[in-house]
């Protein structure tokens, strides 16, 4: 019985594995679109080092980095005298420029009441919609309340809760987003810098 049912699905799959050709004009359309984008100018490792990427930096880390910059400047002055001391400031600011909005984050607390859940995770565009992301696993706080406090970059984001690895649940306390993925409910959040 099992073999028979496996065979019927395999028969369907064989039909679907047949290659699907697309119009040759697609190549031209893609290349035209690509030519209208800024040309890459990077070189190997250096391009990787200077490539913008999302880095979550909490205020605490910025404090440590600022202390490191200050220590760098002071040591520089001790070893190279007043001239180098004057130069240390621009060097430091070049090494650690002021963070852009996308590189900064705030810690956000996500809370869901799910008494029957065995596992709750937060997924969103800030963690690649990855339900297994370690930093976004909610903990059961008792009484069916699950929560996690995690960094979210400044800006507008979509997110959802994933219960027991399978059920997507929108945050009942947040606005819904109309542009669904698969009809799965998403919530909207705006993370702003705390003053």
């Amino acid at each position: 019985m099992r073999d028979e049912t496996e065979e019927d699905i395999e028969q369907i799959a064989r039909e679907l594995r047949v290659p699907v050709a697309v119009g040759r004009s697609l190549d031209a359309r893609i290349m035209n679109a690509v030519r209208n984008l800024p040309r890459h100018t990077g070189f190997g490792l250096w391009s990787r080092l200077i490539t913008p990427r999302t880095v979550t930096v909490t205020p605490l880390v910025w404090g440590i980095m600022a202390a490191a910059v200050a220590a760098f400047a002071v040591l520089g002055a001790m070893h190279a005298g007043q001239d180098l001391h004057r130069a240390a400031k621009p060097i430091a600011s070049a090494l650690f420029p002021a963070p852009k909005a996308a590189d900064r984050s705030q810690r956000v607390q996500f809370v869901l009441v799910a008494p029957d859940a065995k596992k709750v995770a937060v997924v969103g565009d800030f963690n690649g919609w990855d339900a297994s992301h370690v930093g976004y696993q909610a903990q059961h706080r008792g009484g069916g309340v699950w929560s996690v406090t995690a960094p979210v970059p400044l800006g507008h984001h979509r997110y959802s809760f994933v219960v027991d690895d399978s059920v997507w649940v929108a945050d009942p306390t947040a606005p819904r987003v109309t542009d669904y993925d698969y009809g799965m409910p998403n919530s909207a959040i705006v993370v702003q810098e705390q003053k």
Binding site: D8, I12, A13, E15, L16, G44, D165
Partner: protein, 182 residues
């Protein structure tokens, strides 16, 4: 592109400013991934849009491709996400049309026979699956991926994926049962 050029070599050329080298990657992966986009979205026009979108996004973010040797896998991940977004955006609009079209075809062709009709029935049944089940089925049975690989690609747990595949198989059997019987 030279036939033997690895993805990493081509990616490096593009990153050094050789825009035209990107055509090699387009030619290498266009047809390979068209099948998934076509089955996921149900028509050639949307599939081409998803493919174009995926390639353009890949080009724009090429410097962030952490393992250029596996550019194809990275591109496929982008395509899967684009198909999700396009499918969801058009799902509600198309649902009425698909149902009507199915009813129309069913009325006109009650007893399909031959390979073409069989293939049409499969396509039609596939489009009636829920998007997440269709995605899981295609990745498992058509792209022939393992569950761990699927989980990494989709961000969905293995147990949930197995459930989706099982439901998809059940639904396909149900939808195609009349064709089997015939």
């Amino acid at each position: 592109m030279e036939a033997g050029s690895s993805d990493a070599v081509v990616v490096a050329r593009v990153l050094r400013g050789d825009v035209e080298a990107f055509r090699g990657l387009v030619e290498r992966y266009r047809d390979r991934y068209a099948r998934y986009a076509f089955h996921m979205l149900g028509n050639r026009e949307d599939a081409e849009e998803a493919l174009q979108d995926a390639f353009v996004r890949a080009y724009r973010s090429l410097a962030r491709c952490e393992d250029p040797e596996r550019f194809g896998a990275w591109l496929f991940r982008i395509l899967v996400n684009r198909c999700r977004t396009l499918g969801a955006r058009r799902g509600r609009r198309a649902r009425t049309f698909v149902v009507d079209e199915v009813a129309l075809l069913g009325a006109a062709e009650e007893h399909p026979a031959g390979a073409t009709a069989w293939r049409e029935e499969i396509d039609r049944a596939l489009q009636q699956l829920r998007g997440d089940q269709r995605e899981a089925f295609l990745l498992k049975y058509v792209e022939e991926m393992g569950y761990d690989e699927m989980s990494q690609l989709t961000g969905v747990g293995v147990s949930a994926l197995k459930m989706r595949v099982m439901r998809a198989c059940e639904r396909l059997r149900e939808l195609l049962s009349e064709v089997y019987d015939a």
